[in-house]
Subunit: 516 residues, 2 copies
């Protein structure tokens, strides 16, 4: 049942006749570019053309779409990227930039026979400066390696997320990656100080800087942050760092209803204020999917949740609250005051008659364990069946409505069985960013789910002042729903910018905008 | 001696023949647009054509350049702004958007006979939302009024600066205004959640949103933040708010040398960390210009400073350190710990043998007094003579070099007299943002200063990894020096964006980019 990844790719787009087919002449030229080091110390680039070597670059992280790139280009320098794109623009060869390939919206993989331009070999050790409190890193540096290089110098890299072990700086910048510390430290638009980009025409645009304030003309770097590699390829970035917190504390709460989560968040804001570094919410159903050993509170069976009544609301919510600060005593004081205030205000809605006391992490190991609860959720879900992931955002008081709405559709209208299809919600509450996940455990309801969920979920976003993409971007998956979050005027201006910067549309085609 | 404001304006540009002359037919049409309310509750707009009424709109805050606008247009709605710009684009009439007119780079005034489009009447009361922690304000709302509306709801507006009583939200967004809390709360790129803009073609672009995370396509608002009204007119903005700090503390330090300032900053970062909200530096000479009553430390005569030797370095530096936090006791603890660490590490470089003990503010009144020391500096300087203001940024360890370099040029090379021409530096240390001010007390050295300072100061920036504009923007004043901070490729892309969005170049001509 259902489409193969190749069929699913073709379902989203038709190969544009605008692009030339890649010939052996093209490949010979591109190989010669990659095989020429730019300096005596520079490594040679690489070109992969063997089917087996190319395979992982052709498929997305979820294994849902698959393209047929004839070659993967692995440059080692910005100059090589420039030569490649200049040539491809002139020859009308379509190119997909790819770094860690951890995206979730079909934005970084070939759809048909585009060339893959991978940043994997552009991964020199990041350069951390304690005097400017910034790091400069090449596009192929893995996020976690960048974090570790900064930590060594006592500095905190502002971005972190579940995919930190694979995702790369180039993709982080190009997709304006968000993650769990977004509410505290801000977006890539806030933290990127400078970028080096190769435009779709092959021009190297040096916008590198470590200056904090720099109002010299239009701030062009923002064109490349979050445009998902459709306007240029980010080859290097300079990113703002923060003092490494001396103290990191974590508390886990179990609440009976969504209203209580809202109240807890308001208490966190007033009691923890400048220390608050994460406020993550997971509904009971998303906890149920976690391996039993890791869940500190009792498990609730799916049936209890969904058969209890017709409201289809979650049986409970778990909340992880993290503080980062410079003084352990002060932070502990603040956290204790917060927990007390929560207990006094929420009473049994918080502790269930003493059954669900808040858990304050007592050690670094326990902190890791509690975080793994949250970080494990998407991994466990993905392993459970065919997964539909929706990354959407709302004003925070409407955070959870989309999950209840989806359950109404699937269980009430479509009469689906909660033992076969599960609907969960979890995410970054402070950002209004909820991850709605629908898992088809038996992989047998694809057609019914496709029809029931698209475009209903995105239309719900549009009707409730939400965004169809909070942090994952648009890619190919959400391209045709962009009009639900953006006005025709805004979409037209996006197209004008794209056409101006990439006249032949060679860079990451079929993604973000519907151009034909 | 020197140029009149009208001559100075003409010195920077030649009126472009591309623009039509404003005729009475044009004015009649524009008047009819402004005189038509968009709804029953909407006020009528206004058009000013009397010389006396127009006069204040024709001159910049420093009284240095003066244009000759034939009319000032004061719309009351976005729809009127749209009709005006659509008409002016079609008729090739040049338009200067203006809000508070507090800019310092000749960016918001007419140069010749451009029409002034003022946002003064677009000033409905700002709407503060405690649930989304954001404020929506029209372009003509005065910054301080916006701050006060937010404070009433217990929330902090992230921007503040000396001109808060006159500058307006439209200009704040369009110029990416910085100010004293930038290091803590970030830039307008970081804090603006959404904007409504009328493009140079007259299209209304609704990019309003209060969502924290929203990656649905290119983030177009960044095109309008900091492009100084050359691409569109910001008519409304939604801006992120922060919890109003329960505690605000301030300390004033007097240090003997710049090295000590750097050391003090490092201590502030480690001891105050998440509480640090401002770290402002003023050199001794900038303090000397303050009225005596307000200066807590002894005054140093200019002669002592500059005749002491050939190094031309400042005799001392004052540093204002502010904390904002949620718990007064914790913040006081942190501040005390910081002061102790500073005294122990810097010793006599900090307290001059007990003569200059740090001053910790004991009351709200004293806090106001200490801040007025800092905020008074530019005001006192401007009243002292003809002022040259340079707003530049550097990596923080090179923060003060530009002041010493300028003194070298003026006193050593040009043999000028420190009693007649003073050179001071002050600014936002954490952002590397220094305000270099040169004041010609006798107003009799204009030609010599012009020749000695331009382009020497900006070339120094370029040679030391600095920016020719930290927070004030480019305007007309720095337009021809943009190449010192931006590559030819970047400037070309700025021009391409401008041409695409404003085909006839009618919006804020002669500013930011040299287009002909």
């Amino acid at each position: 049942m259902g489409l193969t990844p190749v069929e699913r790719a073709a379902h989203y787009a038709t190969r544009s006749p605008r692009f030339a087919k890649v010939t052996s002449k093209h490949l010979a030229y591109l190989h010669s570019v990659l095989d020429t080091p730019c300096s005596a110390t520079q490594r040679r680039g690489k070109m992969l053309t063997e089917a087996q070597a190319i395979a992982p670059f052709n498929v997305d992280w979820m294994g849902q779409i698959e393209g047929a790139a004839p070659a993967v280009l692995l440059p080692t320098s910005t100059a090589q990227v420039s030569e490649i794109l200049r040539y491809c623009q002139a020859e009308r060869l379509a190119v997909v930039p790819q770094s860690g390939n951890t995206g979730l919206v079909y934005g970084a993989e070939p759809v048909f026979d585009e060339l893959v331009l991978s940043t994997h070999l552009m991964n020199a050790a990041p350069v951390v400066s304690t005097s400017t409190m910034s790091v400069e890193a090449e596009a192929g540096v893995i996020l976690q390696q960048c974090q570790e290089a900064c930590a060594k110098e006592g500095l905190l890299f502002p971005l972190t997320m579940g995919s930190k072990g694979s995702s790369m700086i180039g993709g982080n910048v190009s997709t304006n990656a968000g993650g769990i510390h977004f509410a505290r430290y801000g977006s890539m638009h806030a933290n990127v100080l400078g970028v080096e980009v190769v435009t779709a025409k092959g021009d190297v645009l040096n916008l590198m800087s470590t200056l904090r304030k720099d109002n010299a003309g239009y701030d062009l770097k923002h064109l490349f942050i979050g445009s998902e590699g459709t306007l240029g390829v980010v080859t290097r970035a300079a990113i703002k760092l923060f003092p490494q917190p001396a103290s990191r504390q974590l508390a886990l709460f179990r609440l009976t209803d969504f209203e209580s989560v809202l109240e807890l968040y308001q208490l966190a804001n007033s009691h923890l204020a400048e220390c608050l570094s994460a406020f993550e919410v997971m509904d009971g159903e998303s906890m149920t999917t976690s391996p039993a050993a890791e869940v500190p509170y009792e498990r609730v069976s799916k049936n209890d949740v969904f058969r209890a009544g017709t409201s289809f609301s979650a049986a409970y919510f778990c909340v992880l609250v993290e503080t980062n600060g410079s003084n352990e005593g002060h932070d502990f004081d603040k956290l204790s005051g917060f927990v007390e205030a929560a207990q006094s205000k929420l009473g049994d809605r918080l502790n269930g008659g003493g059954q669900y006391e808040p858990i304050l992490s007592q050690s670094a190991t326990q902190t890791e364990q509690l975080w793994s609860l949250r970080e494990g959720v998407p991994v466990h879900l993905a392993s459970g069946g065919l997964i539909y992931k929706y990354d959407v955002s709302f004003p925070i008081d409407k955070f959870y409505g989309i999950v209840e709405y989806t359950r109404e559709i699937l269980y009430k209208k479509e009469k689906m069985n909660p033992d076969e299809v599960i609907v969960v919600g979890y995410g970054h509450f402070g950002d209004g960013n909820i991850h709605l996940n629908v898992v088809d455990l038996t992989r047998s309801h694809v057609e019914q789910l496709d029809a029931a969920l698209y475009p209903a979920v995105y239309e719900y976003c549009a009707a409730h002042n939400g965004s169809i993409s909070a942090e994952h971007g648009v890619g190919m998956q959400k391209r045709d729903y962009l009009h639900l979050s953006r006005t025709p005027g805004a979409i037209q201006l996006m197209k004008d910018v794209k056409t101006m910067m990439d006249p032949n549309g060679i860079l990451n085609p079929y993604k973000v905008l519907q151009l034909e």
